[in-house]
Assembly symmetry: C2
């Protein structure tokens, strides 16, 4: 399929499925900036609670709570206690950076976008794939904000309440930092020369 048709389909999907507020603004900006870009799956950043059936098997992780905004202690505890009776393994709280996927029509456009992203603090960004004819280049924008903390193991909550409160405050702070970076990136985002 030609680039224009793929872009049209991606914009249609974005219109139907929507996106988180902060990342939606960035996607709109990228999509209207230049014919040579369109965004695909993207996220403003999130806090998730996952249950890992055994050590390190993140692939088999089950998500038991997910928030794209700051979390309150009560809702985290509720998500944990809903999952608890059946848990074998561990519960981790994870705060994730925003992520934006952009398909670019040329390598020059991709590297220009990548430079702006890295300068705006999206330091884990990179080109993830290039088609054989160099006509489509997939850029992933990601920043370093991240927290991965185990909270419970085999039905036992093994961190103190004070520590858990601290972790939640940190997770909320991490999320906000990620969203601030999205704003900064949006501000830096001008038509690449």
């Amino acid at each position: 399929m030609v680039f224009e048709a793929q872009k049209k389909r991606a914009l249609e999907r974005l219109r139907i499925l929507g996106a988180g507020e902060e990342v939606g603004e960035i996607q709109d900006k990228i999509n209207s900036l230049d014919d040579g870009f369109f965004t695909t799956s993207s996220c403003s950043g999130r806090i998730i609670l996952i249950c890992l059936p055994e050590i390190g098997a993140k692939r088999e992780a089950r998500v038991i709570g997910k928030w794209h905004r700051q979390v309150r202690k009560g809702e985290v505890l509720e998500a944990m206690s809903n999952a608890m009776p059946s848990i074998k393994g561990e519960i981790w709280l994870i705060a994730q950076s925003p992520i934006v996927h952009v398909t670019c029509r040329s390598l020059d456009k991709a590297t220009a976008l990548l430079r702006i992203a890295i300068e705006s603090g999206f330091k884990y960004s990179g080109i993830k794939a290039i088609t054989k004819d160099n006509e489509k280049v997939m850029v992933e924008l990601m920043s370093t904000e991240r927290m991965d903390v185990p909270l419970a193991s085999d039905d036992v909550m093994f961190c103190s309440e004070a520590y858990r409160d601290f972790i939640l405050a940190k997770a909320n702070f991490t999320l906000e930092r990620g969203k601030d970076k999205l704003k900064r990136f949006g501000y830096e985002l001008k038509e690449p020369e």
Copy 2:
């Protein structure tokens, strides 16, 4: 400087400075695989203790302990107590994935290497920079293994001993998983076609 001269200089630097055992083997393999590749700064993965003067200011972090191997509780506690009297802020324990930087002579070589890396589990890999003439492409290989856990704040160790033991076991496990991935990548690494 031409590619060959840069490669020669990079190999010389590697010979003098050395590298961690596991990543050194990978670097040797990449450097001898093909004239079109050379490695620069790389790491087998590590566990670090950092002190953050204020919330989120990772840029001003001071490293107070660093290990490229499994850690024992005693040495972590010692590093913390050495730093403790003067600490304002937080102490975090961070386990980091292996990282390998490879300069590639062409885009085709870079994308071939990237494909092998992602298939071997280095899912956070990407092309980070391309020179204007497409003659040098910098690939960063990185996997998803990562843990960032706060342990103390303003001189107070606020997690229990049992929790701290668990975190250290996790950090050691994370390090080993990263090293296993390096081995798998080395095994998959054949001359790109």
